[in-house]
């Protein structure tokens, strides 16, 4: 059996063995060292968009006064790496990032709370007019790509950049983007058997017994095709299935 190769790094003075290929953020979180982040999600490719996970690094062969600020979600571990997660430069950098985010999304509770933790209660920049809660981190885009729907995309550039669904047919209405969004910026409505997200309305398949919504027909078709499971796997809710399992357990035992 081949052992995974590890390297020794130092995070905040703690010596840590991290497997090759891991990023600094992953190594730190694995050892319960807190690095704040918004756009990072372990299930999808890292993006380095929110700039909140910046850390200060030094390498063993650098002269002592050399250091660099990097996004820990993208920076791979290497032998002898020295990482500081809360140095004055890092804290200053995070404050600027949060100050700017607060100007972009002044109504977001998540950002307001995070900024307050860093001592910022009001932005020193001009607030965006008619601001929504989107911080342009692109997590919804990556989540949608991971699902395989490829519906969400960032459009336009620079200050005009925004997130939308250019091709409404591609959206399968699974709500994963809305549920993973770090600032809950994606709005959706669920009423009875109707589900509306990205200005598209879906008629949700209901459970035959308890009439609770299961999934949209588009979602069922997509996941059935992708996983190779037949579509009749996707016809009932977990509650109904569990009750059926109980009944079949009992039948096996009592008959």
């Amino acid at each position: 059996m081949s052992e995974t190769k590890t390297v020794r790094i130092t995070i905040d003075g703690r010596s840590i063995d991290a497997p090759v290929g891991q990023t600094v953020l992953e190594a730190a979180r694995q050892h319960n060292i807190d690095i704040p982040s918004l756009c990072y999600h372990p299930g999808v490719e890292a993006f380095g968009a929110c700039r909140l996970c910046v850390v200060e690094i030094r390498k063993h062969n650098w002269t002592p006064d050399w250091k660099q600020l990097v996004t820990s979600c993208l920076f791979p571990v290497e032998e002898g790496l020295i990482v500081e997660t809360r140095s004055p430069e890092v804290m200053e950098n995070r404050k600027v990032v949060l100050d700017l985010q607060l100007a972009r999304v002044p109504n977001s509770d998540v950002i307001r709370q995070l900024a307050a933790e860093y001592g910022i209660h009001d932005t020193s920049y001009e607030k965006r007019e008619d601001a929504d809660d989107c911080i342009m981190c692109g997590l919804c885009v990556r989540v949608c790509d991971a699902i395989g729907a490829h519906a969400i995309s960032t459009l336009s550039r620079g200050p005009e950049k925004y997130v939308d669904v250019p091709n409404k047919d591609a959206c399968i209405g699974c709500l994963a983007c809305a549920l993973t969004c770090p600032t809950n910026a994606i709005e959706y409505i669920e009423e009875g058997n109707m589900r509306t997200i990205w200005d598209k309305t879906f008629e949700v398949v209901l459970d035959p017994v308890n009439k609770k919504p299961i999934a949209t027909p588009e979602q069922i078709a997509h996941f059935s095709k992708q996983s190779g499971l037949p579509e009749d796997y996707f016809t009932k809710s977990d509650a109904t299935r569990k009750k059926e399992t109980a009944a079949s357990f009992a039948r096996v035992m009592f008959d």
Binding site: A176, S227, K243, F254
Partner: protein, 160 residues
């Protein structure tokens, strides 16, 4: 052979100790037995049974997961939900046994992870309907092998 959870439905009294223990162990909040991974049922004609994840060899939940977030723990053999989950919730629909759920309060997918190889539900089951062992306990040995411990948070204990 690693230890497994054995379910013997006719020993189940639907006392729901397992549900309380499960939700407490996983959420540290005893007030939400609805968040349990194991469920006891009283079916029609008063038949009772307990249901929990079967840790399938070829699991539908794993097959449908787009990010590979459901990983089998090599030590316990249990399929565990990792933090790669992006909440598409398709595993909850795909499981043919209904043993994986979306928890609306904590906004996460919950499933049985056999408590990392020491399941709380089996520990509190007073009748031997749920047993964590190498092999099933035969009926005539239940009384001597199953230990009944009162729960610190239980309100009632079933009569013996």
């Amino acid at each position: 052979m690693a230890k497994r959870l054995f379910v013997t439905p006719y020993r189940c009294t639907d006392c729901k100790n397992c549900e309380v223990a499960c939700s407490f162990v996983h959420t540290k909040d005893p007030r939400h037995p609805a968040l349990t991974r194991v469920r006891a049922y009283t079916l029609k004609n008063e038949v009772k049974s307990v249901v929990l994840c079967l840790q399938c060899e070829e699991a539908a939940c794993q097959m449908v997961c787009p990010t590979g977030a459901l990983e089998r723990n090599p030590e316990t053999g249990a399929i565990e939900r990792t933090d790669k989950c992006i909440l598409c919730k398709m595993c909850t629909v795909a499981c043919p046994f209904g043993n994986i759920h979306f928890d609306e309060q904590y906004e996460e997918i919950v499933k049985c992870d056999t408590c990392g190889g020491d399941p709380a539900c089996a520990k509190v089951c007073p009748t031997g309907a749920l047993v964590w062992a190498d092999e099933p306990i035969p009926d005539h040995k239940v009384e001597e092998q199953v230990e009944v411990k009162p729960l610190p948070w239980a309100m009632t204990m079933p009569a013996k």
